[in-house]
Symmetry: C2
Subunit: 137 residues, 2 copies
DNA sequence: CCATTAGTATACCATTTAAGTCTACTTTAT
DNA sequence: ATAAAGTAGACTTAAATGGTATACTAATGG
């Protein structure tokens, strides 16, 4: 029931970018130093954020990363899912075949967990990086 | 961001007991068979539930487990915490010393995660085993 | 056009955690 | 006394986590 360290780093990296003037490209190295994230590990995280369309990357001299859209349009859920994939709090919700048919049919636990999962996703979705950046000031 | 398999088993074990006539003592073996939980593993889980005061155990012939209180008084949060300990979605909330002072002071991420954590715990707390048992029928 | 800077792609590694099993022991009813 | 049932804790295997290393590609600018 815990977020990855990578997700925590991702929050901080996206927050860092969110607090910069819109459109400013910044190298991974600077984010790593500023946010105290191991450089190589951060690069992996930034790759995931890029693939998820949260940031854009530029290679070569003067390269780096920028937010792909306005901070207000990026939620914590976007970031969590970019790093960890869709939120699934329960094994059976991921692989229903792991539950015996009996369990699935008779066990209300799974239905309930699903609704809790939805609520949790909703909480992450409520928070965007413009707000986060404002409360950082 | 996922519950342990053990927690899922625990839900099912407590649900099983919740649906029995009040005060009925039942051996682990029966729960294991009925709920398709590996016997030895279930025993470990029941031990945790016992220590948490959710079930009571009786040793020896005709021994087994009973709920320690009414199903309506047992929430999913009780069970989650019995198995996994207090809900902590973020590393830094567990071990604040792992965050640099800088992060803690300047980073609104941690404050936000804490409020999400509270919401999540609230969701688990809302659900009790009387309700679960009723929806099992 | 090539040297430098910066991101990309993979493979690798060490630790920790999860899930489950094994052996030996204690308690209790009959 | 014996069999049934829970308790204790060491042990095992596999996967996930967190991080590193190596080699590559792309872009810029002198």
């Amino acid at each position: 029931m815990k977020l990855n360290q990578a997700t925590d780093y991702a929050f901080r990296a996206v927050l860092h970018l969110s607090c910069l003037p819109r459109g400013r490209v910044v190298e991974a190295r600077l984010i790593a130093e500023e946010q105290k994230i191991p450089m190589r590990f951060l690069l992996k995280i930034l790759r995931l954020l890029t693939l998820a369309g949260i940031v854009e990357s530029y290679r070569g001299v003067n390269g780096g990363y920028v937010l792909a859209r306005a901070p207000a349009e990026i939620t914590m859920l976007d970031v969590v899912e970019a790093i960890e994939g869709p939120i699934k709090i329960n094994r059976c919700l991921i692989a229903p075949e792991e539950c015996s048919r009996r369990a699935v049919k008779h066990c209300p636990v799974h239905k309930t967990l699903f609704s809790i999962q939805q609520a949790l996703a909703g909480e992450f979705k409520k928070r965007n990086f413009q707000e986060l950046c404002e409360s950082a000031k």
